[in-house]
Symmetry: C2
Subunit: 412 residues, 2 copies
């Protein structure tokens, strides 16, 4: 590894310089705010988990090919979590007797996948996980969709910018049962449907034919019926009734994880330039089998920062960068600069001090690099305040006046 | 692994249920707020780094015995970062030409050490890292101590609760030079001094004797002189002048990392029950040798959440838990509960809805488990609002009045 290579982050992960971290912080703060409005409590867990936790219910593709698994110095098999659901399920199962019902939890963990980095997919990303435990029913399922919808709206998106597709694993299971498909065949059909969007329709048709043989026509007819009547239609109408109009039934929506048991949903960007699945979730009532005999019903979704940021960029919804530094403070001559900095900080202003003696142009250039709105030059008995955004300056001998001007500008 | 074991987190890491996450969020929000007051900008990086990054400058003990290192599926040697400094140095080195001077950065990353978990030491902890790049001088060094001091004060600590010890690697280097110690001897002396606090003084004396032989007396005399005059005294006086009184010179303060070059400091809890080093930092002007020929002066510190939380608990400074949920909303009979929830949310109130039909006692028990202040029962035409903290109830037919009462209580 040469000196240039060592400057790069590990493949498929990101460095967050202040302007990128600002966007990440913005995204996370919107997610948190809306989750808390719905009474979701913040929780967390380590990225390190026992490998065993993922072996029964997570998608086999993920466990076998896409996890970071290693042995620690004590011989334990450890995984960098590829998703948060097994961790939160573990935490809920452990304290099941003490926890309230319904139990609402959210977290914004980083999760890891060993895969080839590409647009919208990195080896590490952050993902909002909102989950609702201990209760069943359409109103709870509806809340998950509403929460996801409200978050996307809170970012400033319009109903026309995205759409929500709903389906039901239970409906698919019922069809499979009525057609007496074997477990293996059904799993293969689900896996094929999950990839449908990326395939050409002739290819999809042929593969479905080879899996279902003479049952293909009935299968497709049943899917068609589910689209027009029954629980999916009822659920769609409920979602309309709570204010979600941009929702449609799509029986090809499957979601990758094996643990889903009921309704599933997925949100899509509808932009012509970037038409793609953004994120989704659904009901998973059997996951707790890993831990005990008792079932804990659960419903939730995950919303990743990478696809979300793409969506926000596509629709021009990323706010302008605001640095922490509000005033870049320098001195000319013999001035107690710490006293001035203290005074401003005590008045709620964030101050970055340059103690080094330099030419004014250099001060200005550095203040501009930070993107701070103000440069304040303190010399004996007089302050000169430069508003770098408006390219104006004001002189005053009163730190009180200077503080007022700065605070007025920052509040506006 | 049996079903009970699978419920436990991996050894030495923590689950954060909402009440613990609340403390973590509180700690991080105080750290962030104070850092931003001083103009430090938030940044981030992945926990995954190339192993190479740690091989030249990080403490050898940490690299060889305490890192999580593994090979990824592509044969790259990857490390879960044991500390943040090499990552931020890498980021700064990469964009050195575009970055402002001084450059102030902070982050609160999780870092990993493979060691035996014990009080104050876990395998994963979160650590504030505040660093100041591109500048030298006592005023910048002083700012780092002041920033650390102000954070501890912002948590509500008094000057009497902690003390700050300062020393200088440069002073120690100068003494080593004047005594013509070999590099190896000097490193062994530093490593011995670093462990001094945990050793008995006779043992320390004997080991120092065997390392320094006939130079021991001169060495100790020179340390004594540094304590009484010269740059350390000047620095202490400067710290006093900017308002830090609980500071003392202690030439036994070394800090574990090899990369320190100038002043170092460490903060200690002075509680009789818990007298221990909490955290520290110092100047490291040569770390950038890993990346290029050019030096970038740097100074910074790290503040870990585990020792800090111990300190806050010892001094009774942890705030009481406040859940996200402000109102636990239930219905009796045929009521549009979503409309009520919406109204409250639109008025800034966080609402958790229980859609399930249950007995009042069960509603109340679950609301109490969440620790929400209010339980609101909506029945046809009338709201009954229970204040669970004050054990009172109010009836009203106006959602406007109910909203006012809740908001008044929450604001008080």
């Amino acid at each position: 590894m040469n000196k240039k290579e060592i400057l790069e982050p590990y493949k498929g992960v990101r460095d967050f310089y202040p302007e990128d971290q600002f966007v990440m912080d913005y995204i996370q703060s919107v997610m948190s705010r809306v989750c808390e409005t719905f009474g979701y409590e913040h929780y967390g867990a380590s990225i390190l988990e026992h490998a065993k936790l993922y072996e029964s219910k997570t998608s086999q593709e993920i466990v076998n090919e896409q996890t970071y698994t290693f042995e620690d110095r004590g011989g334990r098999r450890v995984v960098l979590r590829p998703e948060m659901t097994p961790s939160v399920a573990r935490m809920v199962a452990k304290k099941r007797r003490d926890l309230p019902k319904p139990l609402r939890l959210y977290s914004i963990p980083n999760v890891f996948r060993y895969e080839r980095p590409q647009k919208g997919r990195l080896r590490e990303h952050w993902q909002l996980n909102a989950d609702l435990f201990g209760v069943k029913g359409m109103e709870y399922d509806g809340e998950m969709v509403l929460l996801a919808y409200e978050i996307v709206k809170e970012f400033g998106a319009n109903d026309e910018d995205f759409k929500i597709k709903i389906n039901s694993r239970k409906v698919l299971n019922d069809i499979s049962d009525s057609l007496e498909l074997s477990d293996d065949t059904f799993k293969s059909v689900l896996s094929l449907m999950d990839k449908r969007e990326k395939m050409d329709s002739k290819d999809y048709d042929e593969k479905l034919q080879s899996l279902l043989q003479d049952k293909k026509d009935v299968f497709e007819k049943e899917l068609d019926v589910a689209q027009k009547e029954g629980e999916l239609v009822e659920f769609k109408e409920y979602l309309n009734s709570i204010g979600i109009e941009n929702v449609e039934i799509d029986t090809s929506i499957v979601r990758g994880f094996d643990y889903y048991t009921g309704f599933v949903f997925e949100m899509f960007d509808v932009d012509i330039e970037n038409p793609r699945s953004m994120f989704g979730g659904g009901r998973y009532d059997n996951l707790f089998e890993i831990f005990s005999e008792e079932e804990i019903p659960a419903v939730g979704f995950g919303m990743g920062d990478v696809t979300l940021r793409d969506f926000l960029e596509t629709h021009d919804l990323i706010p302008e960068y605001i640095p922490a530094t509000e005033v870049y403070l320098v001195r000319e001559g013999d001035v107690n600069i710490n006293e001035i900095a203290n005074y401003l900080r005590d008045n709620g202003i964030n101050v970055s001090v340059n103690y080094t003696e330099e030419k004014f142009d250099k001060y200005k250039k550095n203040a501009e690099k930070i993107k701070t709105p103000f440069l304040l030059v303190a010399s004996k008995g007089v302050f000169t305040l430069f508003n770098l955004e408006q390219n104006t300056k004001i002189k005053s001998d009163s730190n009180e006046d200077i503080t007022k001007i700065i605070n007025q500008y920052l509040e506006s």
